[in-house]
C-alpha cells in the first residue's frame, strides 16, 4: 500500500518535472528564435523546405479527397431538404474551421513531426549534437531552433493550401459531377463565411504548428540515444501530437464561439 502511494507520488512528481522542463525548453527555443531568423535565415529556409515543401504532395492529395467527400456528404444530405445550394457553405465552413487545420495537423505530425524527431534523435545517437557542443556551437540554436521555426512557419501555409485544394475538390465533385449551380455554390459560401471563420482556421493552424514542432523537437532531443530509443521517440511524437492537437482544437473552438 505504502509502495503504491509512493509510486503515485513519484509519477506525479515526474510528470510535473517533465512538464516544467518542457516549458523551459520552449522558452529556450523562443529566446534564440529572433536572432537566428535575422542572422541565419538560410537555416530556417532549409527547414521550411524540409517540413513544408516536402509535405506538399501528401497535403494536396488528402485535401482534394477530403474536400470531395465533404461535398458528396453535404450534397446527399442537403438534397433531402432541397437545400443543395448550401453545399458550398457547409463544405467551406467544415474545411476552413475544422477539418483543414486538424487533418493537416495530423498529417503534418505523421510526415514532418516524425522526420524531425528521428533526425534529431539520430543526430544525438551518433554524437553529432555532442560534437557541436565540443565545437562550441550550441546545438539548441543551430539544430533545434531552425527546425522548430520551420515547422511553425510551414504549418499555416499547409493548412491554407489544404483548405483551398479541399474547396477545389468539393467544387469538382459538387459542381462538375453533381451539377449544382456553380454560382450558387460559391455565392452561398461567400454570404455565410466571414473573415472571423478564416481567422479561426489561421489561429488553429499556428497553435498546432507550434505544438507539433515543439513536441517533435523535444522528443528527438530527449530521445534515449539508441536505435530503439529513437524509434520510441518518433512514435511518441505522433501519439502525443495527435492528442494535443485534438484537445487544443476543442479548446480554441470553445474560446472562439
Amino acid at each position: 500500500m505504502r509502495a503504491l502511494v509512493r509510486e503515485i507520488y513519484i509519477s506525479i512528481f515526474e510528470f510535473v518535472r517533465t512538464f516544467g522542463a518542457f516549458q523551459l525548453f520552449f522558452l529556450r527555443l523562443l529566446m534564440h528564435s529572433p536572432t537566428l531568423i535575422v542572422r541565419r535565415p538560410g537555416l530556417v529556409i532549409k527547414q521550411i523546405y524540409n517540413t513544408g515543401a516536402l509535405s506538399l504532395v501528401i497535403i494536396m492529395v488528402c485535401g482534394f479527397f477530403v474536400g470531395g467527400v465533404l461535398g458528396l456528404q453535404a450534397y446527399a444530405n442537403l438534397a433531402k431538404f432541397n437545400a443543395e445550394d448550401s453545399t458550398g457553405t457547409v463544405v467551406a465552413l467544415a474545411l476552413i474551421k475544422e477539418l483543414g487545420p486538424v487533418i493537416t495537423a495530423l498529417l503534418f505530425a505523421g510526415r514532418a513531426g516524425t522526420a524531425l524527431s528521428s533526425e534529431i534523435g539520430l543526430m544525438k545517437a551518433t554524437d553529432q549534437l555532442s560534437a557541436m557542443e565540443m565545437m562550441a556551437i550550441n546545438p539548441v540554436r543551430r539544430v533545434l531552433v531552425p527546425r522548430f521555426l520551420g515547422g511553425v512557419i510551414a504549418m499555416p501555409m499547409l493548412v491554407a493550401i489544404f483548405s483551398c485544394v479541399g474547396l477545389f475538390g468539393a467544387h469538382v465533385v459538387v459542381v462538375e459531377l453533381l451539377d449544382v449551380d456553380v454560382g450558387a455554390f460559391w455565392q452561398q459560401m461567400r454570404y455565410s463565411i466571414e473573415l472571423i471563420d478564416i481567422y479561426e482556421g489561421i489561429y488553429k493552424s499556428i497553435a498546432f504548428g507550434i505544438v507539433i514542432s515543439l513536441l517533435a523537437v523535444w522528443e528527438g532531443y530527449n530521445a534515449i540515444p539508441t536505435a530503439e530509443g529513437v524509434g520510441r521517440a518518433t512514435t511518441r511524437t505522433v501519439v502525443i501530437s495527435a492528442i494535443a492537437v485534438l484537445i487544443l482544437d476543442f479548446m480554441i473552438t470553445a474560446v472562439m464561439l
Binding site: 539520430l122 543526430m123 551518433t126 554524437d127 553529432q128 555532442s130 560534437a131 557542443e133 565540443m134 565545437m135 562550441a136 556551437i137 550550441n138 543551430r142
Partner: protein, 272 residues
C-alpha cells in the same frame, strides 16, 4: 585566463561522479602535461568516455575540481565555457560527422559558424586540413559513403580546423583495419608534434596506444590504478595492470560476472 606557463595543462583533483546509484569515479586524480600525448586506458565500462565529457564539461562532477590552465571549469558561465571549448578539438568514436553535409562542409562547419571568413579563404583552409589527413580527394563525398577510417580522418580534419590547443581522441582505434589504424596512429603523432598541441587519447587498445603515448593512465574502479610511460606500465607488478596490459582472460577483473554457485544453479537447488 591564466597564462599557460605551467607544465600541467589539465589537472583533475579528487573527482567524484556517479550515474544514478552507480559510482563511476571516486577520488580520481590525474594531470595532463602540455605538449604530450596522454593515454587514458581502462577496461570497458570504467567511464573513460565519461571522463572526457567531464573534462569538456558536458557533464559536471559531483565533487572535486577540474582545472584547465589553472581555471576551474565548473565556474565558467556559458560564454566563457564556449570560449574555452574552442581550444578543444574532439574526435568522437564514430566520427560524429554531420550527416546532412558533405565532407567539405563538415570540415568547414566550425569556420562558417565561428568566423566571417570569405568562401575562398574557407576553401583554402579546409583543403589544407583535408590534405593533411590525405582526403582532399573525398571533399565532395557524403558521410554515408565513407569507410570508418575515412570518417575518422575527416573528423580529425574538422577537429583541427579551428587550430585547437588540445585534441581529444575518444577510442580512435576501435573497429579499424590494420592499415587505417596505422594511418590514424601516425596522424595522432604527427598532429601532436608538428602543431605543438596537447593530445588526450582514450583507448583500450594497449599495443597501439603504447606506440604513441608519452604517458598513460590506467583507470579502474573509479581511480587511477597505475600511471607512467607505456614501458613502465608493462613492467609494473600490479596484477590488474598485468592483466590489462597483456590481455589475460582472468585476474582481478574476473572472467565470470557475479553469479550464484554454478553447480547449485545447474542442479536447481537454489529454488528450494
Amino acid at each position: 585566463m591564466v597564462s599557460g606557463d605551467s607544465e600541467n595543462l589539465i589537472e583533475i583533483r579528487d573527482l567524484n561522479y556517479s550515474r544514478g546509484a552507480r559510482v563511476i569515479f571516486k577520488g580520481l586524480n590525474l594531470t595532463i602535461k602540455r605538449g604530450q600525448i596522454t593515454a587514458i586506458m581502462g577496461p570497458s565500462g570504467t567511464g573513460k568516455t565519461t571522463l572526457l565529457r567531464l573534462i569538456t564539461r558536458q557533464l559536471i562532477p559531483h565533487r572535486g575540481t577540474i582545472l584547465i590552465d589553472g581555471v576551474n571549469i565548473a565556474s565558467l558561465n556559458l560564454t566563457q565555457l564556449y570560449k574555452m571549448r574552442r581550444r578543444f578539438g574532439m574526435l568522437f568514436q564514430n566520427g560524429a560527422l554531420l550527416t546532412d553535409l558533405n565532407v567539405f562542409e563538415n570540415v568547414a562547419f566550425p569556420l562558417r559558424e565561428h568566423t566571417e571568413l570569405t568562401n575562398r579563404l574557407i576553401r583554402h583552409v579546409v583543403l589544407t586540413k583535408l590534405h593533411a589527413v590525405g582526403l582532399r580527394g573525398a571533399a565532395d563525398m557524403v558521410p554515408s559513403e565513407l569507410s570508418g577510417g575515412m570518417a575518422r580522418r575527416v573528423a580529425l580534419a574538422r577537429a583541427m580546423v579551428m587550430d585547437p590547443d588540445i585534441l581529444i581522441y575518444d577510442e580512435p582505434f576501435v573497429g579499424l583495419d590494420p592499415i587505417s589504424m596505422g594511418v590514424i596512429v601516425r596522424l595522432v603523432r604527427r598532429m601532436n608534434d608538428a602543431l605543438g598541441i596537447t593530445s588526450i587519447v582514450v583507448s583500450h587498445d594497449v599495443a597501439e596506444v603504447s606506440t604513441v603515448a608519452d604517458c598513460s593512465y590506467l583507470i579502474s574502479g573509479g581511480k587511477v590504478a597505475a600511471s607512467g610511460s607505456p614501458d613502465e606500465l608493462r613492467t609494473t607488478k600490479s596484477k590488474l595492470v598485468q592483466q590489462f596490459m597483456h590481455g589475460m582472460a582472468d585476474g582481478p577483473v574476473a572472467f565470470h560476472y557475479d553469479a550464484p554457485d554454478y553447480a547449485e544453479q545447474l542442479l536447481g537447488r537454489d529454488s528450494e
